[in-house]
């Protein structure tokens, strides 16, 4: 299917992302180091130092300034990418909101990591969820290959005339950022051709027509301007689909909004985001081998949330466990709430689980537990997978 010969290299998710950035050749990359994103910018800085790309690197003094410089650069008329994680994303989130509101199509690579406190450098999705309502498009990779592919796809989504929004490409901290696996890179010129030139309306450096960006909107206009942004986020679902379809057509790799695994006749299913899909697929295979009708849905496109697609893939499923790698203390966690919205009015029963906070492994037995508990009618309690004392029942 693939039209181009792909070269396999053993790369971590972070390195693969840096290669995607090198091949995209953004005009400007303002960035600040933070674990576990650091290997992305270290690798990229090396590419710049070796003349592999002529991107202008702006080594800012904080993530807040990274995103601020990125908004300035993107609206000035330059293709702009940055990268961050955890506290860094928390610090930049004010400006992520503004980037969406000002329609600045910045691509942000995120090595998803827990939020303090206590401080913890390992993976979970709390940082991404903090930016959940910002208006930024959020895509999550399942592995290093996807971190690469989605980074290559991201500018097309961000810069599409119907979108013009920041796009965050998430990969699980350490599980993906630091785990080496064979990754197939596209030829540089194919990536260049795929992303095309950077074109936005009303670029600040368009000398012909001075424009004002970031103006003051009163109650008579703010709502409409925000509504335009909201509509653009909604439009990004279709655009993502088009870009993913293009990517499949050209390169033979298919990364739809939802990764449905063995869902054909599934009666029970899991929904989750990110690298835990690998563990979950293993359990699905085991249970399928034992004749159980189970499946998995990994959510790649998290914002906009593909409600209709999820509803369709869950048609016929009786019970679903939604596994969140983030909490929303005092209520149901984010992915569960989104899934609940998708299945409203259907017969699908949902159960909520939180797992993997601060880099805690998701053991096979915890995934088994979730599938086992789906045999009984769902109830409202939030389960905690892998939490000491919760699922340590000796089964696996």
């Amino acid at each position: 299917m693939a039209k181009v010969e792909l070269a396999l290299q053993v790369l971590t998710g972070a390195e693969a992302t840096a290669h995607a950035m090198r091949q995209i050749r953004p005009d400007v990359v303002p960035v600040y180091p933070i674990t576990p994103q650091t290997p992305i910018i270290q690798t990229f800085s090396r590419f710049v130092a070796d003349g592999k790309t002529d991107t202008v690197l702006v080594q800012v003094e904080s993530e807040h300034s990274a995103m601020s410089a990125a908004v300035g650069s993107a609206l000035a008329g330059a293709r702009t990418m940055t990268a961050t994680a955890s506290q860094g994303l928390a610090l930049m989130v004010e400006v992520v909101y503004i980037a969406a509101g000002l329609r600045a199509p910045v691509v942000i690579a995120v090595g998803n990591r827990a939020l303090s406190g206590p401080i913890n450098i390992h993976g979970d999705h709390s940082d991404g969820m903090l930016a959940r309502d910002s208006g930024a498009v959020q895509i999550y990779a399942l592995d290093a290959q996807e971190a690469y592919d989605l980074t290559v796809m991201a500018p097309r989504v961000a810069e599409h005339a119907r979108v013009l929004l920041p796009v965050m490409v998430g990969q699980d901290g350490f599980n993906v950022t630091h785990s080496a696996e064979p990754v197939a890179l596209l030829p540089d010129e194919e990536v260049q051709a795929f992303v095309g030139p950077y074109e936005i309306p009303y670029a600040l450096l368009d000398g012909n027509a001075p424009s004002s960006h970031g103006v003051f909107a009163m109650p008579d206009s703010y709502f409409e301007l925000r509504h335009q942004m909201i509509s653009a986020v909604e439009a990004a679902e279709r655009v993502y689909g088009e870009v993913a379809e293009d990517y499949r057509r050209l390169f033979g790799r298919w990364l739809p909004a939802l990764d449905a695994y063995r869902m054909e006749d599934a009666e029970r299913a899991l929904i989750l985001i990110g690298s835990a899909a690998g563990t979950a697929k293993e359990v699905v295979d085991d249970l399928r081998a034992a004749g159980e009708k189970v499946g998995l849905v990994a959510v790649r496109l998290y914002r906009p949330f593909p409600h209709q697609a999820l509803r369709e893939v869950l048609a016929g499923v009786k019970r679903v466990a939604v596994l969140d790698r983030a909490a929303s203390p005092g209520t149901y966690p984010p992915l569960f709430s989104d899934a609940l919205g998708a299945v409203q009015g259907t017969q699908v029963e949902l159960r909520s689980y939180v797992y993997g906070l601060g880099g805690r492994d998701l053991p096979l037995r915890a995934v088994h537990r979730a599938f086992r508990e789906l045999l009984a009618p769902a109830h409202a309690r939030i389960g905690y997978l892998g939490l000491v004392g919760e699922d340590d029942d000796g089964e696996s």
């Binding site: 005009d27 202008v56 300034s65 300035g72 650069s73 009163m218």
Partner: protein
């Protein structure tokens, strides 16, 4: 220095900053913005921090800006400007934009410069972006209703340093922001005031010629915040200079030069008595506070004289080399 004729012509032909905005009568900011923009030849882009200037000039769907303008947030104007400048460098390098060189000018208030924006400014100065950062310094958070900032002078009455049965106005000294900027070893920094517009214009011209960051700290009068008559705006700025409250000087490659020496130092009371924020200092009851303020000014002026004298030879050599 841009001549008055040049500035006036620019205003008529293609104003970078036009009227119709909602800044207060007597506000010190517009003359600063006009003089700065009018003193820069060629295309320019303005970057604003959140503040009076931004709010009052860009109420959607209107804009007072005839030059490309961007505002993102309060604390990040220098970072945004750094990004715009980096974009310009990147696009120029790749041949995607051509033409006359573009000048990047930041306009931020004292809150957005001395306090919440200090980190972003420090980073931008250290990185060496080629941009001019203009602080319109009206010595408090005026846009939110006159709260004290790091630029608010000792004893000034603000809504968060109010004079009361115990409170005597702001208890702390103002920061020496210009010195903080100078400590970044940037090629050009200066203090200016709109009352001395030729001096300001000349400083802008020098600032935009340097290859790197430049900084102007410009005193901006504020009728509601300072409690002065709108008609006294320019006069008050002049008095600030002539009392040594706001000395006019420039720092070129770390070398200090006083650019205007008042013939006579006016008494501090002339500065204080025109402003309601200092009304508790008026007359005998404020004598102690006035005394402390006076000491602060004298100390600063003596230090400035010493620096000026020490660097005089350096400037002479520079001018000889230039001539």
């Amino acid at each position: 220095m841009a001549s008055l004729k040049t500035l006036a012509l620019l205003e008529e032909e293609r104003p970078g900053f036009s009227g119709g905005h909602s800044l207060c009568a007597g506000c010190g900011i517009p003359p600063i913005v006009r003089t700065v923009l009018g003193s820069i030849r060629g295309p320019k882009v303005a970057i604003s921090a959140t503040g009076c200037l931004e709010v009052a000039t860009t109420r959607y769907p209107f804009t007072a800006w005839g030059v490309p303008w961007i505002h993102v947030a309060f604390e990040n104007a220098a970072a945004v400007a750094g990004g715009v400048e980096a974009a310009y460098r990147a696009l120029s390098r790749r041949g995607k934009i051509q033409g006359e060189p573009v000048t990047f000018v930041v306009f931020a208030g004292d809150g957005g410069t001395y306090d919440i924006g200090l980190q972003a400014l420090s980073g931008a100065l250290e990185r060496g972006h080629r941009l001019l950062y203009v602080c319109y310094n009206n010595e408090a958070y005026m846009n939110t209703g006159i709260q004290r900032s790091g630029a608010t002078p000792y004893a000034a009455n603000t809504t968060t340093s109010p004079v009361g049965s115990l409170g005597k106005g702001k208890a702390e000294r103002r920061k020496d922001m210009t010195a903080i900027v100078v400590a970044h070893h940037i090629p050009y920094a200066a203090q200016a005031a709109a009352s001395h517009w030729q001096d300001l214009s000349r400083k802008v011209e020098r600032a935009v010629q340097v290859d790197g960051p430049s900084f102007l700290n410009v005193l901006a009068t504020c009728p509601p915040g300072w409690g002065h008559e709108a008609k006294d705006s320019v006069k008050l700025a002049r008095i600030a200079v002539e009392t040594h409250y706001w000395p006019l000087f420039e720092v070129v490659e770390g070398h200090y030069r006083i650019t205007h020496r008042p013939a006579h130092q006016r008494p501090l009371e002339e500065w204080l008595n025109l402003q309601r924020r200092f009304s508790h200092l008026h007359g005998e009851r404020g004598a102690d506070l006035v005394c402390r303020l006076q000491e602060e000014l004298d100390e600063g002026w003596v230090q400035l004289l010493q620096r000026d004298a020490a660097d005089a030879e350096w400037f002479r050599a520079l001018e000889e080399a230039g001539a």
